[in-house]
């Protein structure tokens, strides 16, 4: 059963458990959708994570007691609530070469070919449990055990945005250029995070993600189509 905890004088934490599990995360998503639909006056943001939702509110608009009661009612009504299915996003990835400098290493480490690594990496439907750490950074669940790979012993100083990597049992995409120790197996031409775009972040918590392999030409085509300004073709996306 969910617990409603005080996380500050202007937020409550609705906690569904303390574990990484699809079942708990499903409740997190259900609650988020239901709480959003309730449009409670004074609530400013909902922050879903693996196992909880932090509800931020303005105490000058709605007080602790009244919000607590409203949230309890939403929690209790979750069984009957009609939650739309989570969306799905297909993410194109150019594997190996300069876009995935660690692919060969990862393959060697697991005694397989790079093609096998790609096949295993593109097979699952990954669940985006939550976003955090960096804007647009997705915590994906579902990486096949056969390609769990330790982090690099010496992290890189700068990893380009869009890089797809593996760290232990996790796989993910770097939304912006930053330092990091993940083993890089590829790169997506999509911008997961673009502060100038109307939808600044491409993926929502609770969505499913599928990777599919593309070649260099397709990579270029997608970039040219989506981000023509990089090619000096102006900002208007005709």
């Amino acid at each position: 059963m969910a617990k409603i905890l005080t996380s500050s004088d202007c937020s409550l934490c609705v906690e569904f458990g303390n574990a990484i599990s699809e079942e708990i995360n499903k409740q997190v998503r259900s609650f988020t959708v239901a709480a959003e639909a309730a449009e409670i006056e004074g609530v400013t943001e909902l922050v879903p994570t693996y196992r909880s939702v932090t509800v931020h509110y303005r105490p000058e608009v709605i007080g602790y007691a009244r919000l607590y009661e409203k949230l309890s009612r939403i929690v209790n009504g979750l069984q009957e609530a009609d939650i739309p299915p989570a969306g799905e996003i297909r993410v194109p990835v150019l594997y190996g070469g300069s876009h995935g400098p660690d692919l060969e290493n990862v393959a060697k480490l697991h005694d397989m070919t790079p093609e096998e690594v790609i096949k295993i990496h593109t097979a699952p439907v990954y669940l985006n449990y939550m976003l955090g750490f960096l804007p647009g950074f997705c915590y994906l669940g579902g990486l096949d055990e056969r390609i769990h790979t330790p982090r690099l012993t010496t992290p890189r100083v700068s990893i380009p945005a869009g890089s797809v990597g593996i760290a232990g049992s996790q796989t993910g995409i770097y939304p912006l250029t930053s330092p990091g120790g993940w083993q890089l197996i590829g790169q997506t031409p999509l911008r997961l995070y673009d502060p100038k775009r109307e939808k600044a972040i491409l993926v929502d918590a609770g969505m499913n993600m599928i990777f599919y392999p593309i070649d260099e030409a397709e990579y270029e085509r997608i970039r040219r189509e989506n981000y023509p300004e990089e090619y000096g073709e102006g900002g208007d996306k005709a």
Partner: protein
């Protein structure tokens, strides 16, 4: 336009932060001391959420390219205008060519400069705050450098009764090197032992020099975990002021904090006391006292009411021959009141008796 002749130690553009994007991993950022930031805006007749300049310990030197009303609030940096001392918490008019200088924090750690009409900078995701780590927002996503120029959106050289635009002393917190701040327990206070909580609420902590806009590290007695806790949790959200315990060491999460984290949080500093914390320098001392969420909100509402009243008083001056000397009519609206711990929602509606 304003030109930064000297940048200061860490000078950034900040407002109330990016609201609504934490679920995407986007830090809120914004001013460290919201109260001082809002006061600065009220003084110069800006909306309270307008972007201001935040100075840290050593402030900038700014040259005005045109006449403009401004105000400095927060820490006392010994501000001068053309070399003449000016007061904090008071609106002034600068003429073109005037030089505003905030040399060094004598008390407090962060000062705010508001410019009437606001800074001419683009909003990114609904805010002009600088997100330093992501290189986004504010001025080119970075701290101010020597020689940087920022335009003024709607420069303003006249406000009626400028000499009356100051903050009454009773509204200003005393800037001290030792403070006690209040906090609410939760959400993971159950992961700490009774002894741990006792240690935390009875000890003095010193602000570490490893503190920054992301978090205030505190040196002092370690906070003991409850039996059965390994000192980690599955990640959940982090609020402004959250008291995270990392290997026994408390870290108060500040404006640029990450949105989520895997360390347990014993509690959270109350909103009304965050400004006291934000004004501490490395080595300053802090103690913590627990209060209920309802009590914290009562304090917060009082603080907000004082800001509202000051804002209304100045706004009334803008309306020529408004309502005479009498009280302003109560606006239609909604109020929350407390009677014996019960919360009541009161709606007031306007009625037209002329009909």
């Amino acid at each position: 336009m304003i030109t930064f002749q000297k940048k200061g130690l860490l000078t950034t553009v900040q407002d109330l932060g990016r609201i609504g994007y934490q679920r995407y991993g986007m830090p809120v950022c914004g001013a460290m001391d919201h109260y001082a930031m809002e006061l600065a805006n009220i003084l110069v007749n800006n909306p309270r959420s307008e972007a201001v300049i935040e100075a840290t310990v050593m402030g900038p030197t700014i040259v005005f390219g045109e006449a403009e009303i401004f105000a400095v609030t927060g820490g006392d940096f010994g501000p001068t205008l053309n070399g003449q001392p000016i007061e904090n918490d008071r609106a002034y008019l600068a003429e073109a060519g005037d030089v505003l200088s905030l040399p060094m924090a004598k008390a407090g750690a962060r000062a705010y400069i508001a410019f009437a009409g606001g800074l001419d900078l683009e909003e990114v995701m609904g805010s002009r705050s600088t997100f330093l780590k992501g290189g986004v927002g504010g001025f080119k996503g970075r701290p101010i450098h020597d020689g940087d120029e920022i335009g003024l959106r709607a420069p303003c050289e006249y406000l009626p009764d400028l000499e009356d635009r100051f903050v009454p002393a009773k509204m200003l917190p005393e800037l001290m090197n030792e403070v006690t701040v209040r906090f609410t327990y939760g959400p993971q206070d159950d992961l700490f032992s009774a002894t741990g909580k006792q240690t935390f609420t009875s000890s003095e902590y010193a602000l570490s020099d490893k503190s920054d806009r992301m978090g205030f590290r505190l040196d002092g007695p370690p906070v003991e975990r409850a039996a059965g806790s390994d000192g980690n949790i599955i990640s959940d959200g982090i609020c402004f002021g959250a008291i995270q315990i990392t290997n026994g060491q408390p870290i108060v999460m500040m404006a640029d904090r990450q949105t989520t984290g895997g360390y347990p949080k014993l509690g959270c500093v109350i909103t009304a006391d965050l400004p006291l914390l934000a004004q501490l320098k490395a080595g300053d001392k802090v103690r913590f006292r627990p209060v209920s969420a309802a009590a914290a909100q009562a304090v917060y509402r009082r603080q907000q009411k004082a800001l509202n009243d000051l804002e209304k008083r100045f706004l009334a001056r803008l309306k020529p021959e408004a309502e005479g000397e009498g009280e302003l009519p109560a606006p239609a609206g909604r109020f929350l009141i407390y009677v014996d711990g019960e919360e009541y929602d009161i709606y007031i509606e306007e009625q037209n008796y002329d009909a």
